[in-house]
Every structure is written in C-alpha cells, then in structure tokens.
C-alpha cells in the first residue's frame, strides 16, 4: 500500500514544528525516517496518523485513514515503548488492541511468541525493560498484519541480537509487498535496513530518495592510495587539478574521484601502487553533513539554536 504525505504542516505556538512536508512511502520497501532531535519526526508521524491536528493530508492508497475499515489492517503503529497500562497484562493489552480488527486469541498468542514475549505474556508490563516494551509495542503494531507499518525508534533499548532480528523481520515484511516506515537514530542500522530515506531538519524536508542516491550525495567520498612514490602521484594529480592529502607515510587520500580514475592516472604516469581503496561516506557522514545546520539541540553545551523550541516537540 502506497502512502502519500501531502503538505503536512504543524505549528506549536510560535514554533513551526513541521513545514509543509510532502513525501511518499512505497510498498515493498523500507523507508527510513531520519532527522536530528527536535526535527519533527514524531510530530510528523502523529500528523500522518491523525493524532495531532495540523494542515495537509496523508492518504493510504489514495484515501484518508479514517475511510479505511478496519484501520488496523491498513496501518500498524508503534510510537512509544511505554504506551501501555502498567497493570494490564501484556496478552490482555494485545487482546484489547485486536478488538478493532476481530483478532483471535490464537493470533495474539502467535504474535506474542513471534516477538519473544511468550514467557511474560500474562505478566503486567509495568516492570518491563525498555526492550521488552519495544517488543510489546511492535507486537501491537503487527497484530492485525497491516499493509503499512509505522515505527518510531523501534530499536531503542534492544540488544544486538534483537536489533538483528528486527532488521530481518522488517525486511521480510517489506519483501511481502508491504510498506515499512521507520524512524531511528541508529544510522548504521538504518543503512543496513532502509531502501529509501526521508530526511528532515527543523521540520523541513532535506531528502526523499533511495538510500544509494542519498549516500552518493556525500562530498567526502575519498580514495586512499598507497605507493612508494606518492609525491610523484600527487604532483601528477595536481597537474590535473586534483588535490591530494597526505594520509600517513606513503599514503594519500584523494577526494571526489573514483578509484578507477586514480588507478588510470597512476598507470599512465608509471607510478606503482601498493593499495587503492575507495572510501565511501557512511549514512552517518552524509546525514551529519546535510543536517548539521538544521540541528535544534546540539551537544557541547550549546543552547538550542532557536529558543522557541518547546518540549511539545518530541522527536
């Protein structure tokens, strides 16, 4: 199921939390939703689900969510690991959530088993760890086997094995032709998981494209070259207008060129190479590069860039 987010906009008093955002979530793909703290990711998700009132529309297969019945067969959302009554048993919590789509107790038990909560199904979740809360939230989201999954930071608090399980689960889910929309701060994880990325900063769209296109935006893709004669190679490159930087003894890095190009230049100049490695920027590098100026909350004691940012924006 395709999801079209059209001109979604939200203000909290003077703070313009989400600025005229438009993007699409494609079926069969995992779409990562990235942005710095306070950039408006959670607000956008709430707007998409109609939990917050704001401008713009979100259409699920061309129709607003309210027009679909049952809604839980269309979209399953997991927005917070603590959205449960601490004294309602995990199984009872899921039975309640399953009421809208007529989910059977058998399916509830299947999902509990799937997320690894079978041992605590009849326990009260008040004492659950963050990771267990995430599993319960995920169980609620997938209970009705929805066409669209929307998950806000689902990997927070999960151990490495669980993160790996979650990645495989979401990739399989998308491979069945369904749409997965997931926000996360774990960029290395997102790089492995997402096919597409939507990046926002200060509520505005920064990127909406495939992961490969997004990574190709990096300006710091470099090539590491080792050679017994790096000085000559550097001068040959300089004669072609390409700057090389010393990267240790007998090594240089060259920015914004491909390894093939450097290899060809070295071959033509008769320079022997002992190592030639393309160093691609990671998602983290590109993300930081593109969103650095759009960060509201920065480390190092810096004050929020614009003081009007209030605590209502929980991204």
């Amino acid at each position: 199921m395709r999801v079209d987010v059209n001109n979604v906009d939200k203000r909290f008093g003077k703070l313009h939390a989400v600025k005229d955002l438009s993007f699409s979530i494609e079926p069969g793909r995992v779409t990562g939703f990235l942005g710095p703290n306070g950039s408006g990711k959670s607000t956008t998700m709430r707007l998409m689900l109609g939990l917050d009132n704001g401008a713009g529309t979100t259409l699920f297969d061309g129709k607003p969510l309210v027009s679909h019945k049952p809604v839980t067969r269309v979209v399953g959302a997991h927005l917070d690991a603590k959205f449960f009554h601490p004294k309602r048993a995990a199984r009872a919590h899921l039975r309640m959530l399953g009421a809208e789509a007529g989910i059977t107790n058998k399916r509830v038990d299947e999902v509990i088993e799937l997320v690894g909560l079978a041992g605590v199904a009849r326990k009260r979740p008040g004492g659950f760890s963050l990771g267990m809360g995430q599993r319960l939230g995920l169980a609620g989201a997938i209970l009705a086997d929805p066409q669209v999954l929307m998950l806000d930071e689902p990997a927070n608090g999960l151990d490495p094995q669980s993160i790996q399980w979650l990645r495989e689960f979401l990739r399989n889910y998308a491979a069945q032709g369904r749409s997965v929309f997931v926000s996360s701060h774990l960029l290395s994880e997102m790089e492995l998981l997402a096919d597409n990325v939507v990046v926002i900063a200060r509520g505005a769209l920064v990127a909406d494209e495939s992961m490969s296109d997004f990574l190709a935006r990096a300006t710091n893709n470099t090539v590491l070259v080792r050679s017994p004669d790096v000085v000559r190679l550097a001068s040959v490159l300089a004669s072609k207008g390409i700057e090389a930087t010393i990267a240790g003894e007998g090594a240089i890095t060259v920015a914004n060129v491909t390894p093939d190009f450097v290899g060809e230049v070295a071959f033509q100049a008769g320079v022997q190479l002992s190592e030639l490695v393309g160093q691609k920027a990671s998602l983290e590098d590109v993300f930081i590069e593109l969103t650095e100026s759009g960060q509201d909350y920065q480390v190092g004691g810096a004050s929020p860039v614009h003081g009007a940012a209030d605590s209502q924006v929980n991204s």
Binding site: L51, N53, A77, M96
Partner: protein, 246 residues
C-alpha cells in the same frame, strides 16, 4: 461502532482497578444499608423503595465515578490515547463508545447493587424493611422514584468523565465533582447570598446543588438543571477531545 464498543469493553475489564472499584462500590452500598438495618436504632423501618435508593448516596457515586474518570484518565496517563486513536481515527466514535460502555457498566452495577440490597432486605429482622414504611433511604434521601438512582449515577459519572476529558487528569476528574458538591458550591452559595439576593438565579442553578436536591426528592426540575450541566460538560469535553492533539 461495534468494534469501538468491543475495544472499550475489553479495556474496562482488563484492568484490576475496575474489579476493585466494583467490589468497593457494592461493599459500600451493602455497608450503608446493612448498618442502618442491622445496627439501626430500635423501631427503625424502611420501605423497599427507600432501601433501593441507597446507591444514590453521594459517596457511592464517588466510588463508581473512579471507573468513569478512568475511561479517559488512563488513556492520557499512560499514552494509550495514541493507540486508541490510531485504531479509531474518528474521535466521535471513541467518545460514544466510552459513554455507552460506561452507562452499561453503571446500569449493570445498579442491578447488582439492587440485588445485594434485596438480599439484605430479605435477611433483615422482621418489620425493618416493610411496605408502607418510610421512603427515606439510609443516606437520608427521600426516594421518589427508583429510576432516579441509575439516572443520577449515570449523570454524575458522565459529568466526571467529561471533566476528565477536559482536564486530561484522572485525580482531578474524580475530585472536582466531589469538591463542587461538598465545598465549592456551598461556599459560593454562601458568598453570593451575602453579596446580593439578586444572584439567587446563579445559586439556584449550580450543578451539584441541584443534583443533591434531585436525589433528595425535592423535585424533578432539579434533575433537569443537573442534566443540563452534565450535557454541557459532555459537549465541552467532546469538543476539546476532538479539537486537541492526542
């Protein structure tokens, strides 16, 4: 709508607090009636109608109103409202389902309370519960018609639920109607009477003052005023619930 009713029913009965409140409510009703009947002064007698009026006592209403406050109070306290509205984006359906299930619950509890009172009446010493005896309930209310008992309880609980929708605060939802009944309106009436006799239209139309007068058998017009306040609170609560962010 059926799905929303089912959701709300499961929500109601999947927390221990509902069972605790239900038992506490029945225990209080039984205690009030039982003390009067088994420990009352010699010669005490009460009609069946008077006995069945026991649940309209304000303390009983306060106990059962905890469930009413929880209908929205728990949703906001634990963030569940976002799960609920993710499943039911049409907020009017959520309000209607919650109000309907609450009314069904209160009617069920009233029937249970009456059954308990019937048992207490049957076990009462001979002559204490008798046809033709006083219609004054153990709480001191003159019971004019039995339908007033569930009607008052429903009105009080919808009022509580509406205040919880407005304040988004569970304890406030429970305390505010009680404070109005036992303190605020009495103080306000006293002050306004001292200030000017022309303000009697205001003191005569306060919600809980009229509710108390209604269940004391002082006339159904008091019930109409109380009902008006309940509807107004419900309308405001619904409007803010629909308008505000979850």
């Amino acid at each position: 709508m059926i799905a929303a009713l089912k959701y709300e029913w499961r929500r109601l009965w999947s927390i221990r607090a509902t069972y605790v409140v239900s038992v506490a409510y029945l225990a209080l009703v039984g205690l009030i009636a039982g003390l009067s009947i088994f420990r009352g002064h010699p010669g005490y007698s009460i009609s069946w109608k008077g006995l069945y009026g026991t649940p309209a006592f304000i303390l009983c209403a306060v106990i059962i109103s905890v469930v009413a406050a929880q209908t929205f109070g728990h949703e906001y306290r634990y963030g569940l409202i976002r799960l609920t509205l993710s499943e039911f984006p049409n907020r009017s359906v959520v309000i209607l389902a919650k109000a309907t299930i609450l009314m069904v619950y209160i009617l069920g509890m009233t029937v249970l309370a009456w059954s308990l009172l019937g048992l207490i009446g049957a076990l009462a010493p001979q002559g204490v519960v008798a046809a033709g005896a006083s219609n004054m309930s153990p709480s001191g209310a003159d019971v004019s018609a039995l339908w007033v008992v569930p009607a008052f309880t429903i009105g009080y609980c919808i009022f509580t639920m509406s205040l919880t929708m407005i304040t988004r605060n569970l304890p406030l939802g429970i305390i505010l109607p009680l404070l109005l009944a036992t303190f605020v309106e009495i103080l306000l009436t006293g002050l306004l009477t001292m200030i000017s006799s022309h303000l009697s239209w205001l003191t005569n139309n306060l919600p809980m003052t009229n509710a108390m007068a209604w269940i004391s058998g002082q006339g159904s017009h008091h019930g109409v005023v109380f009902g008006g306040w309940v509807l107004a609170a419900f309308a405001i609560g619904s409007a803010v619930f629909i308008k505000r962010d979850a």
